[in-house]
Chain length 297, copies 2
């Protein structure tokens, strides 16, 4: 069963709050362009891979408080969307396209793009905090985990920050830039279902590493119509890339090794088998077809 | 007794976490420029007016969990500093100076300025969430209140967002752009000390309104050496201003009315008298001397 409708509904409820629509009519006036940009930046949903992993882990752990899991999934996706909006800004990638449509700063201008990213980050924490009335301990732990994987010194902000350093620590760079939101996904899924976060680190870490290699393959091989954003960005910006280091075959082989390890790392839980299947399905989604063809050829 | 040393220590501990120094040596590598920018953006401290109000309310309510109050004060100041960093960006005010030194994007470049603002926002929520081990319910409530006053639809992001609208709702604009962090201050102070937030709204709201008028006076009358940032920005950007509307005398008179109402609104609590004194002291700090002289002359 696809989790996407559940995730899209949770994201949509969160955005309604951010737009002041959830509070009902008659409230304070809201700046409409920024309100509209919040929706624009979070739709269409794409694969929603991170919240899918989060909910899959929560379900594997029993999902005893679905409202808390929904909030966690929405919060994680909001952070991911915020990072895309800010990474696309002229001072970073200066991307014209995202998910096949103009990037937020192209559609709404740079001031509203900065504010859209800021607002989505804040909304993510608000969504989590609102579950405090259901279970304050889980809410606080979810906020802490998401913050640690998003900010400094080890979250996606740190990852982006590495690109301004003269000398990049590659392991720290990949772990924070790409890996952090995958460890957030597995750990927040466990927390949302009342389980310890720590045993779920390795699964997220390995999925993140696989995703990084898959992203490198996509960046090196796919054309703009498949990707919906400019390709060859790594080469253009001189960023490190697994394909440059290992070639296409080597990168594909590394990716398969990592995914095998990911499945082996799944902690013992009621939904272990279904979760292993989800990891395999996610892998099929993230490996670009051009890379499969190139590795065969 | 000045609360500034207590606030500065709390902010400094928060920044140490964000820089990866609080976790001790031997941890993961950290991008050093971004780590340095976090410190740069939060020092020198300035008047720390918002966290002073927060701690004053917490003390008036008994301050039974000083660690939680400290975290709340630090979080609020981090959000304020983050907003200054992003507001100074070229796409907004393009400010060269802040607190008498180059703005973050002038000192570190635009990419790191965007990331510094993002990281400070996230760190604020992390600092609050970490108090969850002491009192999860207060932690979750603090995150919720701070998020509501920072993001969309009614926080400082909304305030900044109004400046991109063709038609500005002035009441909503001022309340969100300037007032929101003052209501956050009084309400978070109450929550940190285990009290209801709602009765503390009016005090924060009135201090915020007073601050807005004082800021308009400063912007209209002071020179760059007193302010440490470019003056006449409102006039330059065509933003609404109480001095333009009422003149200097009229604005001074409105400011005094608002402050009188603020003191009258203080809820009954053990430290009521001391809190009234703090509001008076804060007023003396925020009213620019040039406006006092102009109103006399």
């Amino acid at each position: 069963m696809s989790l996407k409708p559940r995730i899209d509904a949770a994201v949509s409820r969160a955005i309604a709050h951010g737009q002041g629509r959830a509070q009902g009519p008659g409230g304070e006036a809201v700046p409409q362009k920024l309100a509209s940009a919040l929706h624009y930046a979070t739709t269409p949903g794409g694969a929603r891979i991170r919240p899918t992993i989060l909910l899959s882990v929560a379900l594997a752990c029993g999902d005893d408080r679905p409202d808390v899991s929904d909030a966690a999934a929405a919060a994680l996706e909001l952070i991911h969307c915020a990072s895309l909006v800010h990474d696309d800004l002229p001072c970073f990638d200066d991307a014209a396209l995202r998910r096949g449509k103009p990037s937020v700063h192209r559609a709404y201008g740079e001031p509203l793009a900065v504010l859209t990213g800021d607002s989505l980050i804040i909304l993510a924490f608000e969504v989590l905090a609102r579950t405090g009335t259901v279970d304050a301990a889980r809410a606080a732990q979810l906020v802490l985990t998401l913050a640690q994987r998003t900010g400094m010194p080890g979250g996606i902000c740190a990852g982006q920050g590495w690109e301004s350093e003269d000398k990049i620590d590659l392991a720290a760079y990949h772990r924070s830039k790409t890996g952090a939101l995958f460890t957030a996904a597995t750990q927040m899924g466990a927390i949302a279902a009342g389980q310890e976060a720590e045993p779920w680190f390795e699964l997220g870490d390995r999925i993140g590493a696989a995703f990084q290699v898959a992203d490198d393959l996509r960046d090196a091989l796919c054309d703009v119509s498949e990707l919906g954003k400019p390709v060859g960005q790594d080469d253009l910006h001189g960023r490190p890339n697994a394909v440059a280091e290992l070639g296409v075959d080597g990168a594909m082989s590394r990716l398969k090794d990592i995914l095998g390890g990911a499945i082996a790392s799944i902690p013992s839980c009621p939904g272990e088998a279904a979760l292993a299947q989800m990891v395999t399905l996610t892998a099929q989604k993230i490996i670009p077809q051009a890379a499969v063809a190139a590795a065969r050829g």
